[in-house]
């Protein structure tokens, strides 16, 4: 499903990723760990082409990201549900509108959008905040909206960059459980986080540990 061959990324003279090769199959739960600056976010950004200049090859469902045309880029990105580290919620739009945006961009009908958005709002416990604006919400609530937006389009892959980074342990646990629910439905999940302890004893998944842009360990978590 996702294949990386010797992927390297430089920012100026500094190597952010060095010779990363990975094979990720459909339905896997991948945990990318490592300290700050290890290259976790950069790796995720390459997958959804927020970083589009890199060395090596990346294949996603047979699409070579080095050769993807600008017209195919939206198609690629709709395969992903992305939870951004800084949430990336539009401050001038309500919670409902922020989540609906994904489905509107995919050209879904308004009746379907309404039904689907309300469904994810209920499942994240945010239905009462549908008309609220992001800046009036707490960090935990904004995180839940970000997760709701990531899952509403039922993507085949969810990329989550530090999804529990700014949350207390209870909220972090709730977010993780929510993602696990989607994983059980067959969604491939990639979580980049420095908090390895949170993942332990929760789900069977693969942990890929990065340090200074290199994979230093790959193990199965039980």
């Amino acid at each position: 499903m996702i294949r990386l061959f010797n992927v390297s990324k430089r920012f100026g003279g500094k190597l952010a990723l060095k010779n990363i090769s990975l094979d990720i199959e459909q339905g896997e739960f991948i945990f990318i760990s490592g300290p700050s600056g290890a290259g976790k976010s950069t790796l995720l950004k390459i997958l959804y082409l927020a970083e589009n200049t890199f060395e090596g090859q990346v294949l996603i469902d047979g699409m070579n990201l080095s050769r993807i045309s600008s017209s195919k880029l939206p198609v690629l990105r709709r395969r992903f549900g992305i939870v951004f580290q800084d949430f990336k919620l539009i401050p001038t739009r309500t919670v409902y509108e922020n989540i609906a945006l994904v489905l509107e961009a995919a050209g879904k009908k308004s009746a379907f959008i309404k039904k689907k958005v309300m469904q994810v709002l209920r499942s994240t416990g945010m239905e009462k905040k549908a008309k609220a604006f992001p800046l009036t919400l707490s960090g935990g609530e904004q995180q839940r909206v970000a997760v709701a937006r990531a899952v509403v389009g039922e993507p085949s892959i969810i990329l989550a960059d530090e999804p529990t980074g700014s949350l207390d342990s209870t909220s972090a646990r709730a977010i993780l459980d929510f993602l696990i629910e989607y994983h059980k439905k067959g969604t491939t999940i990639l979580i980049a986080s420095h908090d390895l302890h949170l993942m332990k004893n929760t789900i069977q998944g693969k942990n890929i540990e990065l340090n200074a842009g290199r994979i230093i360990r790959t193990d199965i978590m039980l």
Binding site: Y48, A50, S70, S71, P74, V75, L76, R77, R78, F80, I82, F84, K88, L89, I90, P91, T92, R93, L101, V102, E104, A105, A106, S110, R149, G153
Partner: protein, 291 residues
């Protein structure tokens, strides 16, 4: 489509001041252009009415005699669409002159020779502008027996030259205001775009196409252009209603003149043009941003 329209309206609502400035600028530009068009349309009709309904007087040479009349009439008829042709002999012309100057006939009575030429008065059946009359007159003047031809007021040609110069200035002004409105519309879109940079970035990241991102901006441009056009024409109509009767009354003593507002066709063209202007400003801006 409804989604884009809602989005565009919401964006206009959230950037009320900026949009209001743009709409007012477009309205002012349209107002200036429309004032010129209104002036040209009405002035054109006044000039045509001054041209005495397409009449011309042909003065004939001394060598002319009545036997030449049928051939001359045929020649003149072949040159244009002549409605009426009346022969005025020099004797008849002198009689008419004497009658009209009955109180001062001493001078005319003492005339030993009739100084007036034979003449033909013609009326052109249909003509669209002064130039048509002018061309026909030149062709008639080229006939051997014709000495001179007088069409309309002799100063009308000179006046028309000045009027045409004014018309060119008017078009230049219209072009200038069009460019100004275009520049401001393009900049409004640019500012709106930059104020929504985060939104656009997020849209791209969640898989929105360029069309999905651009469409609300285009609709916003179209709305601005349309509203600017309607507002500009509305202002012109109000001004017209306020001053038209006064102008008509003032000019009535000099010439029959019925001041008219722009035709429906012209109004539709202006609104279409201003809507296009809104769209085009948006197009230029987005083309530059997305290149």
């Amino acid at each position: 489509m409804i989604h884009f329209l809602k989005r565009a309206l919401a964006d206009i609502h959230s950037n009320k001041f900026l949009n209001l400035i743009t709409i007012i600028t477009i309205a002012l530009s349209i107002l200036v252009v429309s004032v010129f068009l209104l002036f040209f349309e009405n002035a054109g009709r006044v000039i045509e009415s001054w041209n005495q309904g397409g009449r011309a007087m042909i003065y004939l040479k001394k060598e002319f005699n009545a036997d030449m009349l049928p051939e001359l009439k045929t020649k003149i008829n072949s040159l244009g669409d002549i409605d009426e042709m009346v022969y005025i002999s020099k004797a008849k012309a002198l009689d008419t002159l004497k009658n009209s100057m009955a109180s001062q006939t001493t001078f005319l009575k003492n005339l030993k020779e009739n100084p007036l030429p034979d003449a033909l008065e013609i009326k052109i059946r249909s003509y669209n502008n002064f130039q048509e009359v002018q061309t026909l007159a030149q062709n008639i003047k080229a006939i051997d027996i014709v000495d001179d031809i007088e069409y309309g007021q002799s100063w009308l040609g000179k006046f028309l030259k000045i009027f045409n110069l004014f018309k060119i200035t008017g078009y230049a002004m219209c072009g200038f205001f069009f460019l100004m409105a275009l520049f401001i519309t393009a900049n409004t879109v640019r500012l709106a775009f930059y104020s929504r940079m985060l939104e656009v970035e997020i849209m791209r990241l969640v898989g929105a196409t360029e069309t999905f991102i651009k469409a609300p901006f285009y609709i916003e441009g179209l709305i601005q252009g349309f509203l600017g056009g309607v507002l500009g024409l509305g202002a012109l109509l109000i001004t017209y209603l306020m001053v038209s009767s006064g102008i008509t009354q003032s000019l009535a003593s000099y010439v029959y003149f019925d001041l008219r507002f722009l035709s429906v066709k012209m109004v539709i063209s202006i609104i279409f043009s201003s809507t296009f202007l809104g769209w085009f400003g948006c197009y230029l801006s987005l083309k530059q941003i997305f290149k």
